[in-house]
Symmetry: C2
Subunit: 508 residues, 2 copies
Amino acid sequence: MQQRVIKPAAGIVLAQQRQHHKPARLESFKKLSNVDIEHFKKIVPAETVLATAAVGGKADPIELEGFNADWLDKYRGNSQLVLRPKTTKEVSAILKYCSEQRIAVVPQGGNTGLVGGSVPVHDEVVLSLRNMNRVRSYDEVSGVLVCDAGCVLEELDNYVAERGHIMPLDLGAKGSCHIGGNVATNAGGIRFLRYGSLHGSVLGLEVVLPDGTVLDNLSTLRKDNTGYDLKQLFIGSEGTLGVITGVSVLTPRRPSAVNVAVLGVPSYENVQQAFKHARQRCGEILSAYEFWDSSCMRAVLHHQSLKSPLEAEYPFYVLVETSGSEKAHDDEKLSALLEELLEQGIVEDGALAQDDTQISRMWMMREGIPESLGKTGATYKYDVSIPIPVLYDVVKDIAKKLEKADLYKPDQSSGPVKMVCGYGHIGDSNLHLNVVADKFEDRVTNIFEPYVYEWVASHRGSISAEHGVGLMKRDYLGYSKSPEMISYMKRIKDVFDPHHILNPYKVV
Amino acid sequence: MQQRVIKPAAGIVLAQQRQHHKPARLESFKKLSNVDIEHFKKIVPAETVLATAAVGGKADPIELEGFNADWLDKYRGNSQLVLRPKTTKEVSAILKYCSEQRIAVVPQGGNTGLVGGSVPVHDEVVLSLRNMNRVRSYDEVSGVLVCDAGCVLEELDNYVAERGHIMPLDLGAKGSCHIGGNVATNAGGIRFLRYGSLHGSVLGLEVVLPDGTVLDNLSTLRKDNTGYDLKQLFIGSEGTLGVITGVSVLTPRRPSAVNVAVLGVPSYENVQQAFKHARQRCGEILSAYEFWDSSCMRAVLHHQSLKSPLEAEYPFYVLVETSGSEKAHDDEKLSALLEELLEQGIVEDGALAQDDTQISRMWMMREGIPESLGKTGATYKYDVSIPIPVLYDVVKDIAKKLEKADLYKPDQSSGPVKMVCGYGHIGDSNLHLNVVADKFEDRVTNIFEPYVYEWVASHRGSISAEHGVGLMKRDYLGYSKSPEMISYMKRIKDVFDPHHILNPYKVV
């Protein structure tokens, strides 16, 4: 899951944050001049062009700040030009010119990514999709939504909610992230367990290729077996193959009954046991199965104005959500599950939300983890997929290594490392491993990087479950993909973006 | 849905069936000789090589019959060599040699396709995957199955059923089709409504490229965002980009309660109305919503030893299936739906299956349609996606055109055309339009081809919802995909199969 988008509190010293290795600027890319700006002003409305004096414009560099830095301010580029086109035709004209002139471009949605994929590395032009935010059509019988790429996820969810449907994905950043960015990064999130991957629910895309070609594949059909399914390549390509301008997505019917429970669990083994029971008892209505450890819980209770729904403290917590069409039936199923889990000693305590306020507070507990860890200190974040049985082992392993290196004392929060903790989506084998330290420093990083990637690779896991590769993990791709796979990815890149102007320095 | 695989009854004159236009043999492909056969015998066990005297072998051409012709005997090639490797390594060695020698190859699974995609057009080597049929691993916690491509779908479903799970797809040909072929053709079928597309449920593939490279991407992870999702390209590529040798697929928990009802519906408008109600009332347990018209029903009742569960005849029939985890709850939901539909006059009659035998007889009614039409006469089959509101219009339109041309009299079954009928998966906007005639002849075909493709294209439908393109629809691809899309498909083909040796003359 991506984090709720909040600007860091004033007290956090951003300069402390770790700067990732920055590849050198490719000299083959043209440096922008006044001539280019004048050309752009001819193809898009002048008010959508944001250029600094460095390239002959008048914008204050501070206006470009939000486009140059990611929301964690971990990655920072130096673009002097932001373009915010309003139509697909404008996007096409921009890219065609950039392609001819060898001008590097970074497409940007809500800029809520976590791997430096959506901000420039050097002076790339920022192509922001935020002005493309119309719903193009909605079919109430099939539930198919067709919209511009720059629509904000939460606004779309509200739009379809009024029509009795639900977006097939949800994540903490929903208030800022764009559907186009969600698709470009193959976002996962908390509805994944129930509604599956965007590779299944995206029915069509409109994509502008670097040479200006518009690939119009905005199908609204659930089934279409006519040739290679090219749109799949753009899902998760992080803006390196083409710019997504339109999305057609299947929205399921909105469940009329939602139930949530929080469980106190004595061991990770029991977290797994309880998951098996939940799938058996709740079957088709199980819509989320999230877990977090006691360290996460302490951070949340310290930093959020929330009270634990359980009296005692437990090594692990689980949030179970069901979503169905008949409240009485769902209540019965979830109550039977809780009873069974308590009876068999698989969980030690459990609380069932009694109303929407309680449901939302339970979710805030889970969704407040990233923010709470951020307030605790400098947070190293790893988003990995690991087979469920060994998923939590990596947290224990990293903690031990840090302890051995005298950087971490589990019982105190005084060392350079304050916390080593884990949370995530058990149902999807997806762990968020976080290490919270006083500050970002090499002696800490060196302990678990690349060790954590090696660990994941040795268990045939993925070094990026849902956050993507971006700039952050480009050098580590080999831990999850074979040289042959990477070689073919590069050939695909050559097919769609022969001059490599799109989102350079990233992914492959 | 693909059809149940049955050999045509002896009485059917196969020669009558329409021969599709056959492209000329490409002379760039090498003609096989004894030297090649000797080479193949060195890289695969001799008993897995089936070669006729024409290429220096000893096999009777009749032994190759089942590999050269599709099950409807509509498409027929003239291969003199069938290879049936047992390992991925053997597949790799075969393809490497074929690539070097420019020998054309057609990969073949269960050979149950309907568009001529799985049989040779001329003398291509048939690469049959039937000897690769082992389950490689199964994880009972996650439900992830990893197996060879040549495993038969029904056998896999039985395998996972014993472990409490279900294959995410089901189709009439399940007793013969291979999972590798299902993936290569992106098969849909009757569980699509509930479990979605293979693009969502296939987690990983092992694919051998024409040059012998093995792309090992047999991931068992639900989430993996590390670079472009190459496996997606092979799903639905119909064996033209690589040969799928291994499949990793997510199997959902098998529902413990299954209910089926058949409804008698007065109009197509009401078929749609009833669908809306079914989705509202049954929500997450709705697992199938199939429809067929009265012509189909008459053919089934005439040719199958089945009795209609409804007393009167209706213009349309609907089969509703629910699958859930709690029988009492599901019964309640389905009964409430039926009551509502009858009360509001949306359906005129309905029968609820009382036991497994009745469930299976109701399904036989729906699944027996293709076979019954085949027994009625020469059947022209179109498998199209069309927006639900106008889906049945194409059936009426084609009937009118044939009537106007004096080829069809709706009240008699005597004309050259005996029936124009429709059935399919409403929930997926997927219609099977069938025209049954005395024989295949141009004066009939010319009435609705390419008219039916134009009709579908003008409604932004797909000319192939699930059957694929193969040889049959290659020339019609432009009705569903833009020239730009087709051009990029060809570039993708060039990347993976630069010498175009894989499944030539098909798809793009």
